[in-house]
Symmetry: C2
Subunit: 477 residues, 2 copies
Amino acid sequence: MAKEKGITPQSVDFNEWYNEVVLRADLVDYGPVRGTMVIKPYGYAIWENLQRELDRLFKETGHQNAYFPLFIPISFLQKEAQHVEGFAPELAVVTQAGGEALEEPLAVRPTSETIIGYMWAKWIRTYRDLPQLLNQWNSVVRWELRTKPFLRTTEFLWQEGHTAHATQEEAEAEAHRMAGVYAQVLREWCAIPGWEGLKTESEKFAGAVYTLSYEAMMRDGKALQSCTSHYLGQNFARAFGIQFQDKDQENKYVHTTSWGFSTRVIGAIVMTHGDDKGLILPPRLAPIQVVVVPIYKGETREGVLSAAEALCRVLREAGIRVHLDDRDQYSPGYKFNEWELKGVPLRLELGPRDVEGGTVVLASRLGGKETLRQEGLAGLLQERLNRFQQDLYQRALAFRDAHTWVVDGYDEFKERVEQGFVKAFHCGDAGCEKQIKADTTATTRCIPFDEPKAEGVCIRCGRPSAYGKRILFAKAY
Amino acid sequence: MAKEKGITPQSVDFNEWYNEVVLRADLVDYGPVRGTMVIKPYGYAIWENLQRELDRLFKETGHQNAYFPLFIPISFLQKEAQHVEGFAPELAVVTQAGGEALEEPLAVRPTSETIIGYMWAKWIRTYRDLPQLLNQWNSVVRWELRTKPFLRTTEFLWQEGHTAHATQEEAEAEAHRMAGVYAQVLREWCAIPGWEGLKTESEKFAGAVYTLSYEAMMRDGKALQSCTSHYLGQNFARAFGIQFQDKDQENKYVHTTSWGFSTRVIGAIVMTHGDDKGLILPPRLAPIQVVVVPIYKGETREGVLSAAEALCRVLREAGIRVHLDDRDQYSPGYKFNEWELKGVPLRLELGPRDVEGGTVVLASRLGGKETLRQEGLAGLLQERLNRFQQDLYQRALAFRDAHTWVVDGYDEFKERVEQGFVKAFHCGDAGCEKQIKADTTATTRCIPFDEPKAEGVCIRCGRPSAYGKRILFAKAY
């Protein structure tokens, strides 16, 4: 809570601002083991709201939840060459269990393609067993060196969808469909605009044929990959022998996909919307949408509190997530700061004169105060919450567009990637991408779907452009 | 699926019956690592239904969800002497991560009292920070030697509630309240009758002052501890230094509780209700409450299928979880067997004459067939599902009571614990309990709350009874 001292402004040190805000707003705390985090109730409630909507959409698109074990034999990961190369350096390994050394060490899952592939090889016999449309909600472990709450931790919560199909066409459609579900939730629930697109070869998932992602812009101009969806081709099918007898009696390998959305999105919400006062939460995800702060002294206390309680009841019955801050030990001003820090979209102030006059003062976390009639308040607040949600998205979209540049020269490129995103031509060569990263720390973020067709020369090396359009570069989390 | 051969009857080999049923009904499969399980969609859907109701009740009683890390430094577990003694032999230990040997090995959590205790010591300052009412949905790892799907696996899913209070009274009330929530869900949702009571000293949780449990009877007469709720006193508070400044300015240790409910309950549901045809699922938890099997040949196919689809739509809109089995490759008889194996409570059969006459045939998984009018069917089925739920509970209760004996002689005791539960007097001595276990493999299950006051002599050693009432003995899973 913002008591001891103010929060470091974003403009002074964005990184420090983030670390302070997520801790002080009670979203998260550091765990005792290096790089781990504890997700506190206020942060977890945001995750639950996201889960509910994602889970609904997964089921609506035909998926079922299941649960696969945490421990994966190391040999499984080695079956797919790219996959093991990508994940081996980050594994946490169980070598002892039940007081004895294990014959084969077990990886704590970094992702579950391999163990699910192993089971599918047992389960899938004919085309009638397809498609397999599975999802699981779990935690995964990746031993990262530099960690940051939500964005990069040694353990994080996510969902991982895994599907197997008879044809390439169907599997590719699935990978795109789920990328679309994610984009919908990111836009409509998180109010985070982004670019949907294809990752370049050097940035794709270890083991994928290709990876789709949603690249969002944080308020320091850096990119955050907010989710990924992979078409895995027959890579895992061949590695694990996942074959089916097709209608034509032929034995064929399945085509698989996987797609994931994690608690890192909470970090994206913080860094997309927050300001120097703290968080600003999108109403659809906010654990508390409206906080009521009663304002009283001595003898007015009881009357104001009981009016505030009555008001909360009405709002709660209308389906608004409302909280009454009736703590006696803090002043209204202290409470205002705290709820601003915690990003509650709307605040209602209720004093003795409001009680008498049947009014209430509404303050928006996006600014502005107005006096309203208590009568019909619930409907009005619903409308304000919807507008808040839209305003938040529009604000982030305007910020993103103001910090995105179409660039053709490498000097300008270097300057602009310090401030935001750059759309430029690239030759498609992985070595050239590597050199750009060495020069600027920026990477290719994606080949955006909605970028118009165009040809040009590579921003760095001048060779003809690949991809048939400009692609997106940025420094990334 | 029940195709290759019939299921081993319960009376021939209950253990084998269980293993076959959980696999064939598609609830679960064995994972690649010894003692692990994969929870398949049909099994996981039961868990989701349980989760939804438990989570609702936890929130209604003021709890919030959070997430604490999977990895716990080994030294944490050693801080509470009883706790480490209980859990050390079952730990899975990570010794390498990120390609290097760890300085301190990490336990994969067997339960989270210690890591939550560590965080509370940081978070709790004054009485205003209390109570802490937390819950988490996660998986835990206990390296068991003999494993069995759902009942005892090296990893399982559960929720673990953890609360901290200013006073003993409040903490004890919490432990009892949550045991009551569990009992409610076990009775009303799982249709599992049981005895609520206190565990004896030798059977309590490692680190608890006392443990409350719900002891259910399986159809082989053995007991299954279906959940536990622990009053932990100040044991963990002292081990982790969790103190608060009370209203009287004194620094005091908090009193804590913990309580858990796991996927083992799915095993309890199977073994409480199942029969030689397979599962029988309680309607409130069944992923499919009503299955519709269309009966057609050649030219009647289209008419019957479209009538079946229309019927399903109506039932779905009325909130019934209905599934249309429109697979052409299987006969109605095959389908009947499969859905009986999978424990679907009600089956509707719809043939050409039913389509013409506006009727449908209803078959209950508990027996009985009747022809009904399609008109007003949804309401009637809701009623039948409710009755099914109650019948299932009553049937299990009658079975339990028919297999529970009040016994005063040790020879009779030995005979009866082969068949079910025994209520007998006991001296309260741990050594005597141990001897009974050595003689019979039976253990004390609990000191039941609703057992009337009585005095007598110990069933084995003849010393005066402790506890002031008979206690419950049985062989246990």
